[in-house]
């Protein structure tokens, strides 16, 4: 890796850090600076003027906004996420076990969907224009242009209502056997896999087709190489960078999907925690969850960009 590439990567990391600062400011501003008094919501019926003033002072709500922002940001980066309004527990304790659940769901989904999506995307590009390619393309465009909850409800209708293979919307906490584990995870994982595979197939297919259109692949074709050899030996090694880039970008769609999927299947993850926190207006919890999601998202798109830089032979 030479200096030039190193500079590009460092510049991209700098941008990520600046973006994270702006994002954290936006999250803070949206939840705290906008109208709507938290204290009155918290106190509800008991919101006498004295009680409101007392609680405002106790929560440091009368300090200047920029000072509160700096304190909050410092807390986030030192692991002090504050105390939940709703049940007076440290936010970190609430999020901890939920985060493990969410990561488990995301991990299993990734393991299932990446191989399937890559195979479908690459084979669709190999036989471009065939009925196979067309049906894969139409199906993936169809899934991309309907809301995630429709994918979820359709999956429930097919697998639980008509085929009766799986339970519908319940999430059991007691898991004793491997069979139960499969049954519990099947539905959320199927739904999420559909959502992100559709993106991944489209991007992978585009990346491989892009490479297939280059002159050196045409040369290989003229030389008499078979289609299989053409794709696997000549095009794929060069398309690898864009494909990994596509995978990282598609995984960022997990974040949007996971919010819907955890809610609909009642899965005890971070996204469900956040949606519940929104209905109780538990701001410290919402802020922390939001920052967590933004950091993961930023990490994924930054990784995608850096892979794109590193895999470009012209920059090496």
């Amino acid at each position: 890796m030479n200096r030039h590439v190193l500079n590009l990567v460092l510049a991209r990391l700098m941008i990520a850090v600046i973006t994270l600062l702006i994002v954290s400011f936006t999250v803070f501003a949206a939840t705290v600076l906008l109208p709507g008094d938290v204290v009155e919501v918290l106190l509800g019926q008991a919101a006498t003027p004295e009680a409101v003033a007392g609680l405002r002072a106790a929560m440091h709500l009368d300090d200047p906004a920029i000072w509160r922002f700096i304190q909050w940001l410092g807390g986030i980066f030192t692991g002090d996420f504050g105390i939940s309004y709703a049940n007076n527990m440290p936010v970190a304790d609430l999020i901890g076990p939920r985060l493990a659940n969410s990561l488990k769901l995301a991990g299993i989904t990734t393991l299932v969907s990446v191989p399937v999506a890559l195979t479908l995307g690459i084979t669709a590009a190999m036989w471009r224009g065939s009925w196979f390619d067309r049906s894969v393309t139409i199906l993936s465009i169809g899934i991309v242009s309907v809301p995630e909850f429709m994918v979820a409800t359709s999956a429930v209708l097919v697998f639980a209502v008509y085929l009766k293979w799986l339970p519908a919307l319940s999430f059991a906490n007691e898991i004793h056997t491997f069979g139960q584990l499969l049954r519990v995870y099947a539905m959320p994982v199927i739904t999420l896999s559909f959502v992100i595979s559709a993106q991944m197939i489209r991007m992978t297919r585009a990346a491989v087709i892009d490479t297939l259109n280059t002159p050196y692949v045409e040369m290989a074709l003229l030389k008499g190489a078979s289609r299989k050899r053409l794709v696997l030996k000549h095009a794929l090694p060069n398309a690898l960078g864009p494909i990994v880039n596509a995978v990282a970008l598609s995984l960022s769609y997990l974040l949007g999907g996971v919010i819907i999927v955890e809610t609909i299947f009642n899965y005890p993850g971070v996204a469900k925690l956040m949606v519940d926190a929104v209905s109780t207006r538990d701001l410290p919890l919402i802020q922390t969850c939001a920052m967590l999601f933004c950091i993961v998202y930023l990490f994924l798109i930054t990784t995608a960009d850096i892979i794109a830089i590193l895999s470009n032979p012209r920059l090496r």
Binding site: V32, M150, L157, A290
Partner: protein, 280 residues
């Protein structure tokens, strides 16, 4: 009229069949949204069926919901919220985004850098999350929803318009116009905008699809349009209890969303070449 139609066809403004299907779907929903109160078979709030989650029947074409209200009427009225809110939001986000994009391209310099950096940062907040955070902060109402959706999709519109305008900005006729001493406003309105309007309109359509999907998602989470009003996402949420019985009340609002978004996609993908790309 007939002659002008044929000359339009000859000039390359021809729709193909798939595009026409998309156009019919979109136009159909637009007409429904405008005329909903006149065509609904039952009042939307009234319980008309003794059974809840009723099946499809001659009396209730799309079945009844969890309280025994007519689903067809509720979907037709829901079109007003889904189409209306999304249309308003996409209008705001595209006009703000495109104006800023053209300005940044024409003026350039630190304004361009600052604006691009800030809007890119805004773009790297996942859209559903942004919606959740704002709704948590100020609560959900229709004006809040329109503004939030508009803010979320402004950076994308900005980026798209800026990329197009930067190309136009280097053309000779813009340089001539600038040498003539024209101001920024004139450059934007008379030199840049007419040359990017086609792709910008296509982009507006795609953004409309994203906004419909996000609005439905938020309503489905119970954070969008609030009861007693209901858009299509909220209709799915209300009736999710009917899912284990495969009630039509759950599926038809989803199908309505899908028909609208797929219709817009088909229409845009098959727009006549002349509208999509003026350079050819």
């Amino acid at each position: 009229m007939v002659r002008s139609f044929f000359s339009l066809r000859a000039a390359g403004y021809r729709f193909n069949l798939v595009g026409l299907i998309g156009f019919c779907l979109v136009a159909g929903w637009a007409i429904v949204a405008l005329s909903a109160p006149l065509i609904i078979p039952y009042p939307i709030g009234e319980i008309v069926d003794y059974d809840y989650f009723g099946p499809i029947s001659g009396q209730f074409w799309l079945g009844s919901d969890y309280l025994g209200r007519d689903i067809l009427s509720r979907i037709l009225m829901g079109a007003r919220y889904t189409v209306g809110i999304s249309l308003l939001a996409v209008m705001i986000s595209c006009s703000v985004g495109v104006t800023l994009g053209m300005t940044a391209a024409v003026i350039g310099g630190w304004l361009d850098t600052l604006l691009s950096r800030f809007l890119d940062a805004l773009n790297s907040i996942p859209s559903k999350l942004f919606g959740l955070v704002v709704v948590a902060g100020i609560g959900s109402s229709i004006p809040v929803l329109v503004c939030t959706l508009a803010v979320i999709y402004t950076p994308g519109a900005y980026r798209f318009a800026r990329a197009l305008s930067v190309n136009i900005n280097t053309m000779d006729f813009v340089t001539v116009s600038r040498a003539r001493g024209e101001g920024t406003f004139f450059l934007i309105r008379s030199e840049i905008l007419p040359n990017i309007i086609g792709p910008v309109l296509a982009d507006l359509g795609l953004r409309f699809v994203f906004i419909v999907l996000l609005l439905s998602g938020l309503s489905f989470l119970g954070l969008g349009v609030q009861p007693p009003n209901a858009d299509w996402g909220a209709l799915v949420r209300e009736n999710i209890g009917g899912l284990p019985f495969g009630a039509p009340a759950v599926m038809f609002p989803s199908i309505a969303i899908a028909s609208l978004t797929i219709g817009v996609n088909l229409l845009i993908d098959n727009l006549p070449q002349k509208i999509r790309d003026r350079s050819q």
